[in-house]
Each structure stands twice: as C-alpha cells, then as structure tokens.
C-alpha cells in the first residue's frame, strides 16, 4: 500500500513537475516575445555611431560672394605597402616601376626589404590613372590611403584674404585661420556625411579681385614701384569686395616660407597715409563746427610751431578757402584747421572713427596703429595731415567709407553680409550734413584737383577722391626721394556705393609723368583704370557729359584707324 501510494504520489509529483516546467517554458517564451515586440515596435531607430576620423578633418570650402570656389579639399590617394605581406619583392618592384614612372628602383627595393615593418609610404599623391593601373596589378600587401589636400584653384588671386593651411590641414593665415579659430572645422566634422560642410561665403567678388590685381600689377610695372596694394569696399555694407597686396604668393606651393615682403600690407602693415588722413581732419573740423565751407586759412607763409616749421608740398602762398585747402592738399591750411579744435576733442574724434585703435576683422593679420606718444600743438598739427600717424590702409578705407556714406561707421568684413544687417550694426560718427560736405569736397577734387586723372581714365563714373603722397621714413628720417603714394576715392559721387583705395610704394617718375612721382600721376590713374573695369561689373550706370562723350568718340576713332 505504501508502495502504491508512493507510486501514486510519485505520479502526482511528476505531473506537478511537468506543469512547473511547462509554466517555466511559457514564461520564458513570453518574455522573449515581449522583449522582441518591444525592440521591434517601440524602439526608435538605433542611435548613430559617432563619426570617427582616421585621417585629417575635412575643412569647409571657401567660396566668393557669387559661389565661385576659392578653396576646397580634394581627395588624393597615396600608395603604401606592408612589407610583411609582400610575397615576391622582385616581382613587386618590377611591376611597380614598369607601370608608374618616378620610382627609384633601389629605394623601392630597400623600402620593401624591411620584413619587420608593417607600413611604409611608397608614393604620396598618386593620380587617378596611376591608381587604377596599380590596382590592376594585384600585388598583395600594397594599398592606398585616401588623404585630403587643400587646393586653391584661383592660385595667387585673393591669396592674402584666403591665407593657407599647413601640412596637417590647419589654418595658418587669413580666412583659413579665422575658420579654425571660429571652430568651423568642428562644425565641418559634425556635418551629416563627414564629406562636405557648408561653405564659408566671402564678401570678395573674384571678378573685382582680378581686375584690381591686374590693374595694380600694371601700375606697379609702369611706375617701377616696389610694391603696392588696393582695396575695393562696399560703402553701404562694409564688405570688402577685393583686397590685393603685391608682391603676393601662391598658397598652393608646397614650401610656405613666404618672405616678409609677401605679407598682407593692407592689414598687417601700418603706413602714414598722408593726405588720406586729411579727409578725417576736414570731417572733424566741419562736424565740430570749427570750420565751414567758406572758412579761410592763411597759407601765405610756412606755419611755425615752436622750433618746427610746416611747409606745403606745392606752396600756394595765399589765403585759401576750405575747398582750396582740400584741392591743393595744403599742409599749412589743414594744420591751422586742426589747431582750431581742442586737442582732446581731436583725439576723441580720431577714436570715434576708429583710427586710434587696432582694426580687427576676420583676418588674423592686423597691425596696431603707430600713434604719437604725447599730444602737443605740434603733434596735433602734423597728425592733421597724416605725419607721425600710421594706420592700416584698410582702416583708411573704412574711415573714408564712413565719411562718405552719410556718416555711418560700418565695421569692414571679409564675409558676405546683408545690407540690412550692416544697417543694424552701423553707428553714426559724423552728421549727415558733414558727409554731404565731404562728398562735395571729394567730387571737387576729382573734377579739378589732384584726382582728375581718375575721371579721365574712367569717364562717366563720377569719381571723387583724395590723394596722398607721403615721404617714407628711412632710418628715422623722412626721405624726400622715396614716396608712398595713395588714392582713396569713391564712385559714383552722387550716391557713393564703392570706395577704391590704391597704394603704390616708391613709384618712380617716368617720361610719361613729366618727372613727377606724386600720387596724382601714378596711384590716381591706376585707380581710374580699376574703376573703369569694375564699375560695369558692379552695375554702376555711367553718366557722360557732352565733353566726355566727344573725347570718347575721338578715342574710338583713333583706335579704329590704327
């Protein structure tokens, strides 16, 4: 009985166990299907793995304002070998030298005979055709690595703005360095498919840039100048449409040991801009009400201050009205005008128009102005006509733009900017009437004064400008034979749109200039040539006077005959 009952119990126990196991299995499968359902139905798409880079970071392209590529990354293939995996060195060497030119047999063999090394470069930057050929050889242990190379398709053009990168694709100068500092590289690395990021759009117009570079180079050759520079600035937005500094450089070249002379002299150098600064002095006197267009200044005799004497370059020896002082670029008159303003107010004005501080733009190369230490009456008088006061040429262009555009200082930029955005960041530096008067003075100088030749070379574009001829400082003294001539002007003068600045370093007198080497004979005609070329590009409509029309017709006739 015990046995039976035990058997019965055993039977019962077995059943229970079976139930338990079944239950366990059901639970197990249910949990699996629940998990499965959860994973497939409720879980979103898997998170994207972090982008990893084996080689260099991609850099954003740089394009001009119209989208022309100025700098881009191109993939290049480099050939490497793993000597451990090469079975037949002789065969490999033979095949490689037969397919690709430029291999040194001995060197190649030596590279491959290093059985303990896992990686040797055989050739950097293999062309696509060579890559295909090598690939088809099917040699084991040989492969390609993709590297990116920074190229500047425009070559020398705009090289000072663009700057360049080092071997590791790091920005060293110009906008390239600016992009690195801004973290655009980082942005590029987060770009969707890690190949291309949004390009950086510059304010530069490559057509304007070329016209500027071409005409400046012509000017430098024609007048045997040592160097030169030029700027085109949009008066209403502060955008730099073109910036040239000669001698320039080619950012594509392998060896980047550029000389000091190749630096960007328009921002990284400071110069005594001479008479260009006079424009600021006039604006100051007019804005403070210390002078008006009918004021008269005694320029009969040199101005004596203490032991110093201020002369005029071309003495007029009479009493000049304010416009006459401007046209004749009289140092004496301008000095007297400045002395009518309090020193502190003079300094305050220069600070207001940004001439006392370092101009900081996107370009990392910027120089601090060289200012006088102590401001006495003499310093005030000399600063008025730009002596002992050196600033970046770009700074000079910015000031003139703000004086002519209605009196609003708009910080210059090398990145594309909306006119509306520019309006928002503008701040008033002189009254609108002062700007109006300066326009009149600039136009007058373009019609009758030293900037005449600009209008002669670019009839119809209503150029107004101010010229400057500064003696260069050689060994701490002003050297009369070495000039730095400059022109800064705007067009069309009835509603200035663009400021053009041209600077020539040590231009020489030629027979054509009748022995003169002042600005009016070299920088001004060069600027005229620039404007004649860029004005149609920029959509400025020429308005010709009857006289200009006749001259043009005569010229056309002459050219038609030859």
């Amino acid at each position: 009985l015990i046995l039976v009952s035990a058997r019965k119990d055993g039977h019962l126990a077995g059943r229970n166990r079976l139930r338990l196991v079944t239950f366990g299995f059901i639970l197990f499968f249910m949990s699996i299907s629940a998990q499965l359902g959860y994973l497939t139905l409720w879980q979103g798409p898997p998170e994207r793995a972090t982008v990893e880079y084996s080689e260099r970071l991609p850099r954003p392209d740089i394009v001009d304002r119209n989208g022309v590529v100025l700098a881009t990354d191109v993939p290049v293939f480099s050939l490497y070998a793993d000597p451990r995996k090469i079975l037949d060195i002789d065969e490999a060497v033979e095949l490689l030298t037969a397919t690709v030119s430029g291999f040194d047999v001995k060197g190649l063999r030596q590279k491959l005979m290093q059985p303990n090394r896992a990686f040797v470069w055989l050739k950097r930057e293999v062309s696509p055709a060579e890559r295909e050929a090598i690939h088809n050889l099917g040699i084991p242990g040989i492969g390609f690595r993709v590297e990116t190379k920074r190229v500047y398709p425009m070559g020398r053009l705009a090289s000072h703005v663009l700057g360049y990168v080092d071997l590791d694709s790091k920005g060293i100068a110009g906008i390239e360095k600016f992009l690195d500092d801004q973290g655009a590289l980082y942005t590029a690395s987060l770009a969707e498919d890690n190949t291309r990021a949004m390009p950086a759009v510059l304010s530069i117009d490559i057509r304007v840039q070329h016209a500027l570079a071409d005409e400046l180079a012509r000017g430098i050759t024609k007048f045997h100048a040592k160097a030169g520079g030029a700027i085109v600035l949009d008066v209403k937005s502060g955008e730099v449409l073109g910036l040239v500094s000669m001698p320039d450089f080619n950012p594509n070249q392998e060896n980047k040991n550029f000389t000091f002379d190749q630096a960007n002299r328009m921002t990284s150098g400071v110069f005594e801009l001479g008479s260009v600064i006079k424009a600021a002095t006039f604006a100051m006197a007019l804005d403070y009400g210390a002078a008006d267009l009918t004021s008269r200044f005694d320029a009969r005799a040199p101005l004596v201050i203490g032991r110093a004497v201020i002369h005029d370059f071309q003495p007029t020896r009479r009493i000049l009205t304010l416009p006459e002082v401007f046209i004749n670029s009289s140092n004496i008159g301008t000095a007297r005008m400045a002395l009518g303003v309090d020193v502190e107010k003079h300094k305050e004005f220069l600070r207001r128009v940004g001439l006392m501080d370092r101009l900081v733009t996107e370009l990392p190369e910027n120089a601090k102005p060289l200012l006088p230490q102590r401001w006495g009456r003499l310093v005030q008088a000399t600063v008025a006509f730009g002596h002992g006061f050196a600033v970046q040429p770009l700074q000079g262009a910015q000031v003139v733009a703000s004086l002519l555009n209605g009196g609003n200082m708009i910080p210059v930029t090398f990145m594309k900017r909306d006119r509306a955005d520019a309006k928002a960041m503008a701040h008033r530096v002189v009254k609108a009437e002062t700007s109006e008067k300066l326009r009149y003075l600039f136009r007058l100088n373009g019609l009758e004064g030293s900037a005449r030749k600009a209008n002669a070379n670019a009839p119809g574009y209503r150029i107004g400008g101010k010229t400057g001829t500064a003696e260069k400082v050689v060994n701490g003294r002003y050297d009369k034979s070495k000039n730095l001539t400059s022109f800064v002007g705007a067009f069309p003068m009835d509603d200035p749109q663009y400021v053009v600045m041209v600077m020539l370093d040590e231009p020489q007198a030629t027979p054509e200039t009748y022995g003169f080497s002042t600005s009016g004979w070299n920088a001004v005609p060069t600027a005229g040539n620039v404007i004649a070329r860029i004005a149609p590009l920029l959509g400025i409509e020429p308005v010709l006077t009857d006289e200009e029309r006749k001259t043009l017709a005569k010229q056309a006739e002459k050219e038609g005959k030859t």
């Binding site: 590529v69 190949t195 840039q209 574009y461």
Partner: protein, 116 residues
C-alpha cells in the same frame, strides 16, 4: 483531432519560417542597395567637389582674360556703349555689324577654326 491540429501548426510554422526568411533575404538586399547608394553618393559628392575645383581653376579670370585677348577680337566695354532702354530705338544701326547668317557663312565657326 489533435493530430490535425498539430499538422496545422507544423504547416503554419513552415509558412511563417518561409515568410520570415524571404523577408530577411529581401531586407538584406535592400540594405546592400542602401550601402551601395550611400557610397555612390559619397563618391559623387567627392566628384562634384573635384569637378568644382577643376571648373574653378578653368574659369580663373586671369586665364579667361589671357584666352580672350589671344582669340577674340573684343574690346573692353566703353561707357558710351551703355544705352538706356528708351533711347535704344535711336541706336539701332541700319546694317547689323556682324552678319552671323550671311549666305550660309558661319561667323562663330570661323573663329573656332582660326583658334585651331
């Protein structure tokens, strides 16, 4: 009864397995297709970049100017060549300055031939 039920289940399992397998197979195909397309997109983008760089170096203003000076008889635009639309009617010459389709002549073709 139970046997018929089991047979049904076996058939259902077989059918489900077939469906599942074919689904997986087609998904693998689609995945391969996606990978191929992605790498093709990367290649195309790289190619676009490369062609863009090449185009940019071909339209270098300095190069265009050199070519234009060499091969074209064009002069720089003069300010008196700009005419307002309402003055246009008075400026139309009686004879067209360049006769492009004169007696089967091909003016542009001639320029191209001269270039070769």
């Amino acid at each position: 009864m139970l046997r018929a039920f089991n047979a049904c289940l076996v058939l259902a399992v077989l059918a489900a397995a077939y469906v599942l397998y074919s689904l997986e197979h087609s998904i693998r195909g689609v995945e391969r297709q996606i990978a191929r397309s992605n790498s093709a997109i990367v290649n195309e983008k790289e190619m676009i970049g490369l062609l863009g760089a090449e185009w940019s170096s071909l339209v270098r203003p300095e190069r265009l100017q050199r070519l234009a000076e060499q091969h074209l008889k064009l002069r720089r635009i003069s300010p008196d060549q700009f005419v307002k639309v309402n003055e246009l009617a008075t400026r139309i010459p009686d004879e067209p300055p360049v006769k492009l389709e004169e007696d089967g002549k091909d003016a542009i073709g001639d320029i191209l031939k001269a270039m070769e």
